[in-house]
């Protein structure tokens, strides 16, 4: 199995995940990201499989995906490739949006993650560094991903924008 280690920096709001795969090559790991068929088999969590409707793996390039929940609810997201240095580094901005990949201004601000690939003595590894812009963006992002949370959150944001007690 892959050996996973991770470190969190709460103040900087970064998560670093290191995954070592025995007997894999860097090129093989790269394919997990580059190949749409493989990518959609691991991106979505259990119960929320991901379908990538677009995967332009280049710079500038965009991927658009949706994750379908148990009730047929679809949650769209997008990636913008900021850097693709095959086979050593990927830098991706990811956020929420619509089916066309337009960022949704009412959704949390996009985050960014960097994936660095490296060969090891016995296989290959990659390191993912996720950077969140701020706690509130991060919190909103995750709260919105709750099993029921996303639908509720969208409804609440609409209502709150219409009725905001503290607007001067």
């Amino acid at each position: 199995m892959a050996e996973i280690s991770s470190t969190k920096d709460v103040d900087a709001l970064t998560l670093t995940v290191n995954a070592e795969f025995p007997a894999a090559s860097v090129e093989r790991l790269w394919q997990l990201w580059a190949d749409r068929e493989q990518l959609q088999r691991w991106w979505g969590p259990p119960g929320y499989p991901a379908t990538f409707t677009r995967h332009d793996f280049g710079v500038p390039g965009t991927s658009i995906y949706f994750m379908e929940g148990p009730e047929g609810d679809r949650h769209y997201g997008w990636w913008h490739f900021l850097e693709i240095a095959e086979p050593v580094r990927l830098r991706i901005e990811d956020g929420f949006g619509d089916a066309e990949g337009n960022p949704d201004p009412e959704m949390p601000a996009p985050g960014e993650f960097i994936v660095d690939f490296e060969a090891t003595a016995t296989g290959a590894r990659f390191t993912i560094v996720s950077q969140f812009a701020s706690l509130e963006q991060f919190e909103q992002l995750l709260a919105m991903g709750q099993e029921e949370g996303m639908k509720q959150a969208i409804g609440q944001i609409d209502a709150l924008l219409a009725d905001d007690p503290a607007t001067p």
Partner: protein, 113 residues
Amino acid sequence: MVVRTELDEAEVDAIFQALSDATRRDIVTRVIVRAQSVSEVAEHYEMSFAAVQKHVAVLERAALVAKERRGREQIVHARPQAIARARRLLDDYEQLWHGRIDRMQRILDEGNA
């Protein structure tokens, strides 16, 4: 991105209400970087001091910031509880990646079989 959090619905309500305004999101970001007085915060916005105070009060009710009196000034700081929440959220995000990496391993195993 789908992750469970420990926030209950009332907390989520309060947080969303507080963060539904761009000014308030901006205030939180500023005080996370450095605790500062309400007047310092107010310098960044073209609105009255009273309006900024109102925004800070909404954030306070959502427990995102706290005010502390220091002499004649009120210092706004991010609450330590928020940092604790950040830690739990990072835990959730970490678990999400662990799941992804396990699924990656399965794909790799199929290729070798």
